[in-house]
């Protein structure tokens, strides 16, 4: 199985506070990798390096290497706009733009591609179908994206992210602000999407990790304690800490 992402001695600093310590992790292509661990262990921090979104904040800094397809994306020469097209991100709280459902996706498309009107419409529809949202919104494409339900908004954000043809999707607790039925839909969607995309998902929900992921990485206090196939991690963890966490003895 091909490795899509490879973290090499990745450390991270909030000012002088070190949040990640020499993380090493290989993420397989077209698989779902779950990132688990107790609150504050550095899951979000780790994920936010992959698209360099942390650079929005002045005092945040990463060191080490993060290879995507063998290229170190922490290299200052890398075009971050293109990097972020390739590496989409879904946040905990849905964040539709203050525009119509259609424009939410069309706007993202227009950032990266010059498309004739007709094709733009087709690509918007494709993206909405891929996010299994089309049937629910096809009659309200002109309505504000903010008028959708929470679960629909989250799928709109997924549609927006996949519209620009990424290769990787990062999801930071994508279902924690959403009801169980909507959560199930998004989990099913993730299983569909892994045919085309490499997905890394942070979750606090062990059942969710077990249901959707092929591989799992367990974080603890900024260190990656253990990673490997989800089935093995859940049934036969090598580290005591991992076992304690997944059996719910702490965290």
């Amino acid at each position: 199985m091909a490795t899509k992402i490879s973290a090499r001695n990745l450390s991270f600093f909030y000012g002088s506070h070190q949040a990640l310590f020499d993380n090493c992790l290989d993420i397989e292509e077209r698989r779902v990798t779950a990132v688990i661990g107790p609150s504050g262990c550095g899951k979000s921090t780790h994920l936010r390096i992959y698209n360099r979104i942390f650079e929005l904040y002045r005092d945040q800094r990463a060191s080490g290497e993060l290879l995507i397809d063998g290229v170190n994306i922490l290299d200052p020469q890398i075009d971050v706009l293109e990097l972020r097209r390739k590496v989409g991100m879904i946040f905990q709280k849905p964040t539709p733009f203050p525009m119509s459902v259609f424009e939410n996706i069309a706007y993202a498309l227009k950032l990266h591609f010059k498309l004739p009107r007709k094709e733009l419409q087709q690509r918007v529809e494709q993206a909405l179908r891929a996010a299994s949202l089309w049937d629910e919104v096809k009659d309200k494409l002109k309505n504000s994206g903010l008028a959708l339900s929470g679960g629909q908004q989250q799928r709109l954000c997924i549609a927006r992210a996949i519209a620009v043809e990424p290769e990787i999707l990062l999801m930071d607790e994508p279902t924690s602000a959403i009801d169980p039925v909507a959560t199930l839909k998004i989990e099913e969607l993730m299983l569909d999407l892994k045919e085309k995309y490499t997905i890394v998902v942070v979750t606090h929900n062990m059942q969710q990790a077990a249901r959707v992921s092929d591989n799992t990485a367990f974080f603890f206090k900024g260190h990656i304690i253990e990673d490997g196939p989800t089935a093995r991690i859940f049934t036969n963890p090598k580290q005591k800490k991992t076992e304690e966490y997944i059996t719910g003895r702490f965290g």
Partner: protein, 286 residues
């Protein structure tokens, strides 16, 4: 026993504080109603169609109105907005979105605060020195410049506050799609805050539209239509009110002054109420 008494005491203190707070609020509301009532009582006699259609006339000539002053005030206020709004919005965006240089940001923020507290009479005097004296004449434009200086820091700070209310995750999700910083700010964040931004501008407009002191040094007044906005004294409501309602020996002008005050008050109240309705939907549910 002791603890029981202290509970009663606490309850009474609580009631007392609540009663006084309510009284304080009532006082503020009563003052407002009193002002509005007074202006209506003295001003409503003047409100005849001719009063709203005719220009003001020199002392002693009958059938004077306020139309020239109303137009003048509109010209001066919108002139001020045209000068102040674009840079004030940009300044607010800088303060809110580009926090990369803390020293510059805090100096900017502090000077805006100082400017907000600057007495408007000083600003009038300043514009008098830099525009009226060198050019040798008063002008509506000079009035606009003075009002623009007053509006500028107000709009800058309200813009900063309104942009600050937009959640950070919206910025992050725009950037995470590969959007540039500039586009994120101008197209997504400003747009999400658009109602708040407009509210800030309208409130600043309402606030300066009644400013008198700066106009006495700059636009002054003229009993003519405000055609000479760029090159001569320009009629406006605040100066008309000051002159008529207090300095005039004639009963008719006295009444006209109050009538003008009523018109200004209604305009400002309208802007405030409109703003309030507008602001209800702020933030698009974010």
């Amino acid at each position: 026993m002791k603890s029981k008494r202290s509970i009663t005491t606490r309850k009474w203190t609580d009631r007392l504080v609540r009663a006084f707070s309510a009284l304080a609020v009532a006082l503020a509301v009563l003052t407002m109603l009193w002002i509005i009532g007074t202006v209506i009582a003295y001003g409503h006699h003047a409100l005849r169609p001719s009063f709203l259609i005719n220009p003001s006339r020199p002392y002693g000539i009958a059938n004077g109105g306020i139309a020239n002053a109303l137009l003048g005030t509109i010209a001066i206020t919108f002139g001020a907005a045209a000068i102040a709004v674009p840079p004030a919005l940009l300044g607010g965006i800088y303060l809110s979105e580009y926090k990369d240089n803390r020293a510059i940001t805090s100096v900017l923020r502090f000077s805006a605060t100082v400017m907000m507290g600057m007495p408007s009479v000083i600003i009038g005097l300043f514009v008098y020195m830099i525009m009226v004296v060198p050019s040798g004449h008063f002008s509506g434009l000079a009035g606009s410049v003075a009002l623009a200086i007053i509006m500028y820091p107000v709009i800058m700070r309200s813009t900063e506050d309104m942009l600050g209310m937009v959640p950070y995750t919206l910025r992050e999700s725009a950037l995470a799609l590969g959007m540039t910083r500039t586009r994120t700010t101008l197209r997504i964040i400003s747009f999400a805050a658009r109602k708040g931004l407009l509210t800030g501008v309208l409130l600043a407009l309402a606030r300066v539209s009644g400013e008198t002191a700066p106009l006495l040094f700059t636009a002054l007044f003229a009993d003519s239509w405000p055609t000479n906005y760029f090159g001569g004294p320009t009629a406006n409501m605040p100066v008309l009110i000051t002159e008529y309602a207090t300095n005039s020996p004639f009963a008719e002008m006295h009444q006209a002054g109050w009538g003008a005050a009523l018109v200004v008050m209604m305009l400002v109240l309208t802007i405030n109420i409109a703003t309030r309705l507008l602001f209800r939907g702020q933030n698009d549910g974010h």
